[in-house]
Amino acid sequence: MSAAIAERMRSLDQTTEDALRPPRYGWAALVAVSLTCIAIGVYSWSLIIRFGMQYTGLNRPVGWGVLITDFVFWVGIAHSGTLISAVLFLFRARFRTAVYRAAEAMTVFGVMTAGLFPIIHLGRPWYAHWILPYPNQRHLQINFRSPLVWDAFAISTYFCVSAMFLLAGLMPDAAALRDGSQGLRRRFYALFALGWRGTAEEWRHHGRAYLFFAAFATPLVISVHSVVSWDFAVSIVPGWHSTLFPPYFVAGAILSGVAMVITLLIPIRRAMKLESIITLDHFDMLSRLVILTSLILTYSYSTEFLLALRAGPGPERDTLLYRATGAFWPFFWLMVLGNCVGPLFLFFKRVRGSLVGLFFVCVLVNVGMWLERFNIVVSSLEHNRVPFDWGTYHPRLVEIGITLGSFGWFFFWFLLFLKLLPAISVSELKEDAHHAALHEAAHAA
């Protein structure tokens, strides 16, 4: 009995430590690729900084394009993590333990990526700090009535809280690794262990703190993407100005986030031999989340359109019809395919069960979600209220380069994380392991 438990725990430690030694060349290659992308992105941005936004495809009337699309996309990606770990924690959903660490990491890096775009897309990024309330001699502060200021606050808060949430969970595992390693590695893990010893006293505080984090993070998740949606909903641009946006965006964010988690976990699981820990049941649960959120999204889309059509002739209707039939109609229908139709296949156990099918659906969702943001941002601006100014927008290389760079940036951090920190929460698994053992004992008896 007792030996069995110890055995389980040991094997858990073993798998984690193995996971920290992923296939060397594959890993290095991926890092190299992401670094290249980052370089491309940095160069592209430098062009904008030096020569102005003329290198983007933006114009009058389309003032926002791919860069803002990327921003919303990455904020969305950043949403599953906290949802999975915090909300499911509060719901005591056990299946979370295996996957939440990776998801949280994704959240943190997602926010780190998203946070860049509000700065990149500025005409004068060197004055980006003016958007923050800091003491200055001008007697002039910032406009708290502007959704962009709300953004600045929401994003930074979200980053801090989810980072601390991640660190709190990491402490015990990092401590274990610390004691198991020497030299630089030891110091590195010591940094994350923050002196953790695993005494009952520490666990006492840790337990409470973790609960509160979950309690904070849950409303935060809702608020952050609501705020992002207000960037659009607060304006009076037809196609943006809608009270539906906050729930609609949150659902979308969760959908894209969970989809991204699945897209990442499937290969990670293979590459790091975590099959024993991240089982098919986990994916099954996650894909149920995908179905749920996708249905909510479908509902939102239809509401948006029905309301616009019921509103009768006018900018609102013109804009939405344009979205579906205008210059970017393929984007719109691809979005519908990815976000509404694709996930429906997950109702079939066969699709849900096969990782290939699941992976495919989730990639499709990711594409669909990016396109959704693009459609909302661009098509509404293309058809604003004055028909004389109706125009079109075509992304330019610079914007594509920066988008590429953002992916590079995200995956660079994520790869580092996989190499250096446990991608699964060992301590919580150990707790489970003990329960499992008890169950077996009960069965045996």
Binding site: G52, Q54, R60, G123, R145, Y189, L191, P387, F388, D389
Partner: protein, 939 residues
């Protein structure tokens, strides 16, 4: 805690510390004081000079605003009866002509194949020597010719005396105006014995009919005519305008009726109209005694293709009832016997309707230095080709660049051994010259001219010459002195001109006894005497041959040339005139060829296709543009288009082929308002329909009050002609950069004020209307752009302006997205002002850098200036004292600006007008700008 230590923490902290510590620093700059203070120049304060605009023949008086010795803005001279304070787009752009980078910066002389710089003294000495050698025994040069633009003043006098003293031929001096209304001149000569152009008083006309005469763009005196026509607009019984032409041009867009003739059919229509008026059965009242004789001289009627007899009759009836009226035409592009015939027919209609002396005045047009008849010019060229011309002096004349290729000018010029060009820039002709002696720009020179009888306009430099140039007249005087020409005593042109205008002014009854009085007149800019218009006596002889006619042109495409208020098609035009999009087509930076939709469909042509046009004269390639308001048989090309020279004079048949290539036209704006009713048209006497379903001005929060002023504007769509003078004025006043064709294509024009167009398709082609809407920042009380700015870069000032603080802007572009009027403009790149154009920049307005949002400020600098003056004089700001550049320059006076808080102010009254409405009332932004709906035809 093992591992993580104090040291690590400190590292992080110090790193941030360093980053914070870095801050830029300027090198100390040097202040360089003046040696001697210039009198009456106060740095930082504007000086105003009165002079004359020489952009076209109209001779509008202008006021030039000068700062620190640089003229930064041109405005109309309020004391001048022609401009009355307004100025057209081309007039505004004279400024860029002055600072044009391609202006000649010093004299050039030919050495071998190329023109090399040469000091003035040397150049004049050489030239004098050469001329001296060429002089014959009688001291004259048989082969000397002087080709000059029209100079109705001292300059012309000097040239005449020079030509007659040195030249032998009787027409040694030929006056050449490519845009002259020669046909009208000729017709007036033949009909009334007066080779002059009429002066129009359209404010007196109740109906105006234009036979394709672009009298609001370039024809005769557009500023004055726009003011005249629009004086009668706005009220219920308004001046009616009928437009008779194959193309609905800008002037046509202001018409209530459009008779869409087949190309070249205007003549027939005019004759039929005349015939109808004279036909006894129509019982037109008060026919003149000559009526019968005229009727006798009329050619037999011919069937009309484009226009129905009913339409003619309808027009005739209107004209016979609504008197006085004014019939205008033909356009400058009309030429030859046909042009003369059309002109004659039009003038006879005026005579029959008794318009002369009322709306149509003869005897006022200046007879000074009238352009020579075409024959003289062609004779000169022929002589040159025969090698009889030995010396050709050109003063601001570019025959090679302006005359059709068929005139074989180059061949002629190559035969001339000595060509001297006295111009501003190295135009086509000047490239062939042996001496290029650059003239001052009009704004740099002294002079005087007689724009019309009983009027004297004084020209004075508003800044010291930018380059090493010299007044042409002075050059001629110097040469005369060097050659000891008999009869030319004067040495100094300025003195000569002064003596001349003072004499003229005295003759007009001006008091000039004291120097102060003389200065006052100079400061006035114009001397206005009184001359009565005369009743012209019709010369019946030769009437029949004059009213020559030919059958309406057959089916098939014909070339039509049209004038535009701007000069987008003219490669030599200044940036403003090229970049500001043509008001009807939205084209900037290139020439184009218009086809009707039907024709385009028939030929399978799309806008942007490169077409090969060919006539019996030659070929040219032009970008196709599908026009919603053009006769199916017409291929319309802007008259500034250089390609037109190859194709020859308009009216001739033209063949079209697709080259398969496309041309990247820079097009701006969609010519439709999708039924959103932004530019409203209402039946005469009716009131505009109000927005339904929401209460106006109702907000959740209390409206904020404006303690002192609430600056507001009112725009009368019934008066706006679409001439875009306001747009160009805005460019000039507010340092708007010219971004060039590429950026224009990408929808990145920087204009703060634009004229939006929308074509309202009617049942027939003729029924389709063009609605124009000047659109600028509406300075909303509840501006959607303001609350979304994170850094307060835009906000609402206590005086009701929607302010944009450039130096605070970080460029989120959120405000632009959220502006329902798309009134905000983003700086996609750093502005470029090619040397020396930067000298024109207005020092009272920031030059914006890349990444910054900008927009109309209601010319806040001008508001501040007026408020400052008022405060210095200890009085409140007067109504009409504050005028943004656009309002100031509007020839039609369609824009009114003022303080809406003052219930008696003109703007407050205008805003209360029954036709008044605000743009996009449904979004409830409470704009400061009120529009007055246009009154559409008979409703």
């Amino acid at each position: 805690m093992p591992g993580i230590g104090r040291r690590f923490f400190l590292k992080v902290v110090s790193a941030t510390g360093v980053a914070a510590a870095c801050s830029p620093s300027h090198a100390p700059e040097k202040l360089i004081p003046l040696l001697n203070p210039p009198e009456n120049l106060v740095p930082g304060k504007p000086l105003f000079y009165r002079t004359v605009c020489r952009g076209c023949g109209a001779g509008c008086g202008v006021t030039a605003r000068s700062r620190e010795g640089r003229v930064v803005k041109l405005e109309g001279n309020p004391d001048d009866p022609i401009s009355a304070g307004a100025l057209c787009a081309r007039g505004q752009a004279e400024l860029q002509g002055l600072y044009a980078p391609d202006r000649l910066r010093g004299p050039l002389a030919r050495q071998g194949d190329e023109l090399k710089p040469l000091p003035w003294a040397a150049a004049l000495a050489q030239l004098g020597g050469l001329l001296g050698k060429l002089r014959g025994s009688d001291g004259r040069i048989a082969g000397l010719r002087l080709l000059s633009r029209c100079e109705p003043g001292s300059a012309g006098a000097v040239q005449r005396s020079f030509a007659s003293a040195l030249g032998a031929a009787k027409n040694a001096r030929v006056v050449f105006e490519p845009r002259d209304l020669a046909s009208l001149r000729a017709a007036n000569m033949k009909l009334f014995g007066r080779a002059e152009l009429p002066v129009l008083a359209l404010s007196r006309a109740r109906s105006v009919v234009s036979f394709g005469a672009d009298f609001l763009e370039t024809w005769l005196s557009p500023v004055e005519q726009a003011r005249g026509l629009m004086a009668g607009r706005g009220e219920p019984d308004r001046t009616r305008l009928t437009w008779i032409s194959p193309r609905l041009s800008m002037s046509g867009a202001n018409a209530d009726t459009w008779l869409c003739t087949a190309p070249g059919e205007e003549l027939q229509v005019a004759l039929e109209l005349l015939r109808w008026l004279l036909d006894p059965v129509n019982q037109v009242a008060a026919l003149p005694p000559e009526a019968a004789a005229i009727r006798a001289a009329l050619p037999p009627p011919r069937p009309l293709r484009g226009v129905s007899p009913e339409q003619v009759a309808h027009l005739g009836r209107e004209l016979s009832l609504r008197r006085p009226s004014a019939l205008l035409g033909p356009p400058a592009s009309a030429s030859g016997a046909e042009g003369r015939a059309l002109a004659a027919a039009v003038q006879l209609c005026n005579l029959v309707l008794g318009n002369f002396g009322k709306s149509m005045q003869l005897g006022l047009g200046s007879e000074l230095d009238a352009p020579s008849p075409e024959e003289d010019l062609y004779a000169l060229l022929e002589e040159a080709r025969r090698g009889e011309v030995t010396v050709l002096l050109l003063h601001r004349a570019d025959p090679l660049g302006k005359l059709p290729a068929s005139a074989r000018v180059e061949e002629a010029l190559r035969k001339v051994p000595l060509i001297v060009s006295l111009g501003e820039r190295l135009d086509a002709t000047a490239r062939l010259a042996h001496f290029v002696l650059p003239d001052h720009h009009a704004l740099e020179s002294f002079g005087d001219l007689e724009p019309r009888k009983g009027m004297l306009a004084l020209q004075q430099p508003v800044l010291s010459p930018l380059w090493d140039t010299r007044a042409s007249s002075q050059v001629l005087l110097d040469l005369a002195a060097a050659l000891k020409l008999p009869g030319i005593a004067d040495k100094d042109f300025r003195e000569l001109s002064k003596a001349r205008w003072q004499a003229g002014a005295k003759a007009l009854g001006a008091k000039l006894d004291t120097p102060q009085a003389q200065r006052d007149v100079q400061a006035q800019g114009v001397v206005v005497g009184h001359v009565e218009a005369l009743q012209p006596a019709l010369k019946l002889d030769g009437l029949a041959p004059l009213l020559f006619t030919k059958p309406s042109p057959a089916e098939g495409l014909h070339l039509v040339a049209f004038a535009t208020a701007l000069a987008n098609a003219d490669p030599e035009a200044p940036g403003w005139l090229r970049e500001v999009p043509d008001v009807l087509t939205g084209v900037s930076w290139s020439s184009w060829a218009e086809l009707s939709q039907a024709t385009a469909q028939r030929l399978g042509v799309k806008t942007g296709d490169l077409l090969a046009l060919s006539t019996d004269q030659g070929k040219a390639e032009l970008a196709a543009l599908i026009s919603p308001a053009l006769h199916d048989d017409a291929v319309a090309v802007p008259q500034d288009a250089p390609e037109l020279r190859a194709l020859g004079t308009p009216g001739r048949a033209v063949r079209l082929e697709r080259t398969g290539k496309t041309f990247p036209l820079a097009l701006t704006g969609r010519a439709s308002q999708e039924g959103r009713d932004l530019a409203r048209v209402i039946a005469e006497g009716g009131a505009p329909k109000r927005e339904q379903g929401h209460e106006q001005g109702r907000t959740l929060v209390a409206p904020h009050e404006h303690p002192q002023h609430r600056w507001a504007m009112s725009i009368d769509l019934d008066k706006c002609t679409g001439c875009q003078a306001c747009v160009v004025a805005c460019y000039a006043e507010n340092n708007l950069p010219v971004v060039g064709p590429q950026a224009a294509r990408e929808g990145r024009l920087m204009a703060w004020l634009r004229i939006q167009r929308s074509v309202e398709k009617g049942a027939s082609l003729e029924a389709s209307r063009v609605a124009l809407l000047p659109s600028l920042c509406q300075h909303c009380d509840a501006a959607p752009c303001e609350p979304v700015c994170p850094v307060y870069a835009t906000y609402h000032t206590p005086e009701g302006l929607n302010a944009q603080v450039y130096n605070r802007c970080i460029g989120t572009r959120y405000c632009a997205n959220n502006c329902p009027y798309d009134a905000r403009v983003f700086n996609w790149e750093d502005p470029v002002f090619v040397e020396p154009l930067q000298m024109q920049l207005n020092p009272d307005v920031s030059v914006r850098s890349k990444g910054v949002m900008e927009k109309c400020t209601f010319c806040v600098q001008r508001i501040r200036f007026a408020e400052g003056t008022a405060r210095d004089e200890g009085r409140p700001v007067r109504d009409g004292e504050v005028t943004p550049a656009c309002v100031q320059t509007c020839p039609a006076q369609a824009l009114v600006f003022g303080d809406a808080k003052d219930p008696k102010s003109r703007v407050a009254l205008a805003q209360a007008e029954s036709r008044g409405y605000r743009l996009l009332e449904e979004v409830n932004t409470l704009p400061a700008i009120a529009y007055q709906a246009r009154r559409g035809g008979k409703g």
